[in-house]
C-alpha cells in the first residue's frame, strides 16, 4: 500500500509540472499586472526546478502539511474534506442500488433461461450498457425531474433525507451501468453452479428450490460477484467525475476537474492520492469478505 501511495504521489507530481498551464496565470486571470503573476510564481516556488519543488513538497508532506488551494485560498485538505463525504455517499448509494438491482436480475435471468423473462433482462442490460453515462443521466433527468418532477435535477441538499432524494438519479445513472455487468456475471456463475453435483444432490435429498438457491447456489456464486463488485466500486469512485459534472453534485469528482482546469496543484495531488488510497482500501475490503462468504477460504 505504501508503494502504491508513494508511486502515485511521485507520478502525479511530475506530470502536473510537465503539462502546460501556469497556476498563477490561471489564478489571477487576464487583468492583473504581469508582475503580479511573476511574484506569485516566486512565492509559490514555481520558478524553481522541478526536483527542488519535489523536495520542498516532500518536506511539507512529512510535516503533515498537505498544501494550500490557490484557487480557494484555503488549506487544500479542508477544501477536499468538505467534498469527500459527498462522493463517498454517492458511491455507496450507487453500490446499494446496483446490488439491489443486479442480484434479482441475475437470479431471474439464470432461473428463466430461454424464456421471455431472460430475454427481457438480457436485452435491457445490453441497451443500458451501451448508453454513455452522461447521456443516460440527461435522459433520466428529463423524464424523472422535468416531466414527472419526482426528483430534483442535481445538487446535494442539506439533510440526510435530501441527500437521498437529490442523489438518487446520479446514483441510479451509475448503478444501471454496473448493475448490468454484475447481473450478467451473477447469471453466468449461477448457471455454472446449477450444473454442480452438490446442487443435484441437494435437490435429490428433497431440499426446496428456495433453500438450494440460498444455501448452495448463491453463496458460491457470490465469490466472483463480490470480486467484480470491488472492481465496480473502484470504478464508481472514478466514474463520479463525469456524473458529478452532469448533475452538479459537489463531490471530489467535480472538484478534481475544476482543480485540473485551474492547475490547483496541491488540491489535485490530494485528490488523486485519496483516490489511490480508496482503491487500495476497497481491494483490501474485498479480500476480507471472501472468508465471510466462503468458509473454505477461511480454513485455507
Amino acid at each position: 500500500m505504501a508503494f502504491v501511495v508513494a508511486g502515485v504521489t511521485v507520478i502525479v507530481f511530475i506530470i502536473l509540472r510537465l503539462i502546460p498551464g501556469d497556476p498563477c496565470s490561471a489564478l489571477h486571470g487576464q487583468y492583473v499586472r504581469p508582475e503580479t503573476i511573476e511574484r506569485c510564481r516566486v512565492d509559490q516556488g514555481f520558478d524553481q526546478p522541478v526536483w527542488v519543488q519535489f523536495v520542498t513538497y516532500l518536506g511539507r508532506l512529512l510535516k503533515g502539511d498537505l498544501g494550500r488551494s490557490l484557487y480557494y485560498r484555503r488549506p487544500a485538505m479542508d477544501v477536499f474534506l468538505e467534498r469527500l463525504p459527498v462522493t463517498v455517499f454517492l458511491a455507496l448509494y450507487t453500490i446499494a442500488i446496483a446490488v439491489s438491482l443486479s442480484i434479482p436480475l441475475g437470479i431471474i435471468s439464470a432461473t428463466n433461461k430461454g424464456n421471455i423473462l431472460e430475454a427481457i433482462v438480457r436485452v435491457g442490460t445490453s441497451i443500458t450498457l451501451s448508453m454513455p453515462s452522461f447521456w443516460l443521466g440527461l435522459l433520466l433527468m428529463l423524464i424523472f425531474s422535468v416531466r414527472l418532477r419526482w426528483f430534483p435535477v442535481g445538487g446535494y441538499g442539506s439533510s440526510f433525507a435530501e441527500h437521498l432524494r437529490f442523489l438518487f438519479l446520479p446514483a441510479l445513472t451509475l448503478a444501471l451501468t454496473i448493475a448490468t455487468v454484475l447481473a450478467r456475471t451473477l447469471r453466468n456463475s449461477i448457471l455454472e453452479i446449477l450444473q454442480s453435483d452438490y446442487v443435484r444432490t441437494a435437490r435429490a435429498k428433497g431440499s426446496s428450490w428456495h433453500r438450494v438457491m440460498l444455501r448452495h447456489v448463491l453463496r458460491n456464486a457470490l465469490i466472483s460477484y463480490v470480486t467484480l463488485l470491488g472492481i465496480a466500486l473502484a470504478w464508481v469512485i472514478g466514474g463520479t467525475v463525469v456524473i458529478e459534472q452532469v448533475y452538479g453534485v459537489p463531490g471530489i469528482g467535480s472538484l478534481l476537474i475544476n482543480s485540473i482546469l485551474n492547475r490547483d496543484y496541491d488540491l489535485i495531488q490530494n485528490n488523486i492520492l485519496v483516490y489511490a488510497l480508496l482503491v487500495v482500501v476497497i481491494n483490501l475490503a474485498v479480500d476480507l469478505t471472501y472468508p465471510i462468504i466462503d468458509p473454505r477460504v477461511r480454513n485455507d
Binding site: C40, R83, L138, P152, Y156, S158, V246, G251, N262
Partner: protein, 534 residues
C-alpha cells in the same frame, strides 16, 4: 323500514356533500321588498388587487459556471463570487439599475477639493452590519486600505499614490498625489465592499466562511460547491428592502443540467441561458427568457511578433474577411451585434463614430494581394477547450478566412494554458478572451491598451496609445478624457492591433412570478429589489 331509513340517511348525506362540493354555491332566494319600487341597481366594485412588492418568499437562481471561490471582496475574479459579494456587502457607490450613473451606497455624498487631490465622503447614517454592529469610519478605512493593497484589484488605483484617512466620526477621505479621473467610478466595484475591521482582524481567513456585511442579505448557509443561502439582513439601510426572505444561489454547472433544473421548476431564475435555448424557454408557459444589454465583447488578439501578423495589410484582410453577422446568426442565434472597436460598449466611452470592419470580401482580398503573403499563409487560433461557442466561432473563422487564402488551424487548450501562453506571447492569435466591466468607466477593462500588456502578449508597443492610456487617468475633464479614449479606439482600428468581433448580451430566463429582476449592463443584479408575485 330500518333499511329504508338507512338508505335515506346515506342519500341525504351524499346529497349534502354534493351540494357542499360545488364550485359555486347556489344563491339563496332574496327577500323581496314589500313595496312596488324597482330593486336598487347594483354596482359591483372590483376588489382592488394588491400592487407593489410582496414581502417575503424565497428565490432560487443560478450563478455563473464556476463555484464561489471566496467572499473576500478584494480577491475574486469569478462572477459567482462577485455577484454574491455585491448582495452581501455595501460598496462605497453602486451602479444604477440602468447602468448609466452611480448611486451612493455606503456613503450619502461626497465632495472633491478644487485641485482634485482630496475626496471627502460622508458615511451614510444608520449603516449597520448584519450582526447589529454599526459601520464605522474605521471599517471603511480598513476595507479600502485592504483593497488598495490587494494584488488583484489594487491596479485600479494609482499604485502607492492613494491613502485613506478618517475625517471625523462620520467621514473619511481619500488623498491622492495626482488627480485620478476614474476614482469615484472605481469605488463602485465589488472590491470596494465594506467589511468589519474588528471581525476580520480577529478571525482572519475564517471570517470569509461566514462573513458579516451591511448589504441587503447575509450568509445563512453555505454548502460548498452546491449552494449558498442568503437571508434578509434585518439591519439593511434601505427601508423596506429587501423584499425577499431568502435567496438561494447555486453555482452553475453543465449547460443542459441548468436548463433542465429551470424547466423542472427548481430554479426561479436561470442565468447564462445557452443561446439555442432562449427561444425555447421563452415559449414555455409561465416563463420568459431573453437578453439584456451587457458591456461585454469578444475581440481577437493577433501577435504582431509573429509574421506575417506584423503586416498591417494582413491584419486588415483578416478583419474585413469576417462576416460577423453570419457568426451572430449561426453561433449566437441572432443575439448580439458586430463589434466596431476594441473597447466594450461602455456608454459615453465607446466610439460610436467608427465604422469598424464591415464584411467586405473583395476589400479583404485586395489587402491580402498587397500584403507580404499574397498567396495566403497558415495561422493558428487558440481558444478555450470545452467552450462550444468559441469552437463554433473558430470553425466559422476557418471557413471565412479560407476565402482569402488563410489556412486557419484550430487549437483548443484549457484556460490555464491559454492564459499562460497568451501572457508569454506564445500564441499567434488569441480568440478567447471575452471582456466585460464591473464599473461604468473604461479604467477596468482598458488596461489591455497599455504597453505593459501589449508588449509581452502581442509583441508590440504603440507609444501613442500607451501615452494616451496612461494619461487618461489624470484628465479630469470628461469631454477631454472621452476624446482620449475615442482616439485610442481609432488608433487601435487604424492599426488593427485588436480585431473587434462581437458585442454580446446577458442571457436570462425566469418564471413570470419573479418581478423586478433585471441584469445590469455590468452583468450583476440587484436582488434587494426583486419580489415574488405568488
Amino acid at each position: 323500514m330500518f333499511k329504508l331509513r338507512k338508505i335515506s340517511t346515506v342519500s341525504l348525506i351524499l346529497l349534502t356533500l354534493a351540494v357542499a362540493c360545488q364550485g359555486q354555491a347556489t344563491p339563496l332566494p332574496r327577500a323581496t321588498a314589500t313595496t312596488d319600487a324597482p330593486p336598487p341597481e347594483r354596482t359591483v366594485t372590483a376588489v382592488p388587487q394588491p400592487t407593489g412588492p410582496n414581502i417575503g418568499g424565497r428565490l432560487t437562481m443560478t450563478l455563473e459556471f464556476s463555484d464561489i471561490t471566496t467572499l473576500d471582496p478584494v480577491v475574486p475574479d469569478d462572477n459567482s463570487s462577485i455577484w454574491t459579494i455585491l448582495n452581501v456587502y455595501d460598496q462605497v457607490f453602486r451602479v444604477s439599475r440602468d447602468g448609466t450613473t452611480l448611486e451612493p451606497d455606503a456613503v450619502s455624498g461626497y465632495s472633491v477639493s478644487p485641485d482634485g487631490l482630496e475626496y471627502l465622503f460622508d458615511l451614510r447614517d444608520g449603516l449597520t452590519f448584519s450582526d447589529g454592529a454599526p459601520v464605522t469610519v474605521d471599517d471603511v478605512v480598513f476595507s479600502l486600505e485592504r483593497m488598495l493593497a490587494s494584488e488583484n484589484w489594487g491596479f485600479l488605483f494609482p499604485e502607492g499614490e492613494v491613502t485613506v484617512e478618517p475625517a471625523g466620526d462620520k467621514s473619511f477621505k481619500l488623498v491622492l498625489q495626482s488627480p485620478y479621473a476614474p476614482l469615484v467610478n472605481n469605488l463602485a466595484g465589488f472590491w470596494s465592499s465594506i467589511v468589519p475591521k474588528a471581525l476580520v482582524e480577529a478571525q482572519g481567513e475564517a471570517f470569509w466562511e461566514t462573513p458579516v456585511g451591511s448589504g441587503p442579505f447575509m450568509v445563512s448557509e453555505w454548502v460548498k460547491g452546491d449552494h449558498i443561502t442568503l437571508a434578509r439582513n434585518p439591519h439593511y439601510w434601505e427601508a423596506g428592502k429587501p423584499y425577499l426572505d431568502e435567496v438561494e444561489l447555486r453555482p452553475g454547472s453543465d449547460d443542459n443540467t441548468r436548463v433542465l433544473r429551470f424547466q423542472a421548476g427548481q430554479l426561479d431564475v436561470l442565468l447564462g441561458v445557452p443561446y439555442n435555448q432562449i427561444k425555447l424557454l421563452d415559449e414555455t408557459d409561465g416563463a420568459s427568457a431573453g437578453v439584456s444589454p451587457l458591456m461585454g465583447a469578444l475581440r481577437l488578439y493577433p501577435n504582431l511578433a509573429q509574421p506575417p501578423l506584423d503586416d498591417l495589410n494582413v491584419r486588415l484582410a483578416l478583419a474585413y474577411a469576417i462576416d460577423r453577422q453570419a457568426i451572430i446568426e449561426a453561433v449566437l442565434f441572432g443575439y448580439g451585434e458586430p463589434a466596431t472597436t476594441a473597447l466594450i460598449k461602455i456608454p459615453g466611452w465607446w466610439n460610436d463614430q467608427l465604422p469598424g470592419f464591415p464584411y467586405d470580401l473583395e476589400k479583404a482580398k485586395e489587402f491580402m494581394a498587397k500584403s507580404s503573403v499574397p498567396d495566403g499563409f497558415e495561422l493558428t487560433t487558440t481558444y478555450t477547450a470545452g467552450s462550444t461557442t468559441d469552437e463554433q466561432i473558430a470553425v466559422l473563422l476557418q471557413q471565412q478566412w479560407a476565402l482569402i487564402g488563410v489556412d486557419l488551424v484550430l487549437q483548443p487548450v484549457d484556460i490555464a494554458v491559454l492564459t499562460e501562453q497568451f501572457g508569454a506571447g506564445q500564441l499567434q492569435l488569441n480568440q478567447s478572451f471575452w471582456s466585460s466591466s464591473d464599473v461604468i468607466d473604461p479604467a477596468e477593462t482598458s488596461a489591455f491598451f497599455s504597453c505593459r500588456r501589449t508588449q509581452p502578449r502581442q509583441g508590440f508597443c504603440d507609444e501613442r496609445i500607451n501615452g494616451l492610456y496612461l494619461s487618461s487617468g489624470t484628465i479630469m475633464d470628461p469631454a477631454e478624457r472621452k476624446a482620449v479614449f475615442f482616439e485610442i479606439q481609432e488608433l487601435g482600428n487604424d492599426n488593427v492591433y485588436w480585431i473587434p468581433m462581437l458585442y454580446v448580451p446577458s442571457r436570462w430566463a425566469k418564471w413570470d412570478y419573479v418581478k423586478d429582476f433585471e441584469l445590469l449592463p455590468t452583468g450583476n443584479f440587484r436582488l434587494w429589489e426583486v419580489w415574488l408575485d405568488k
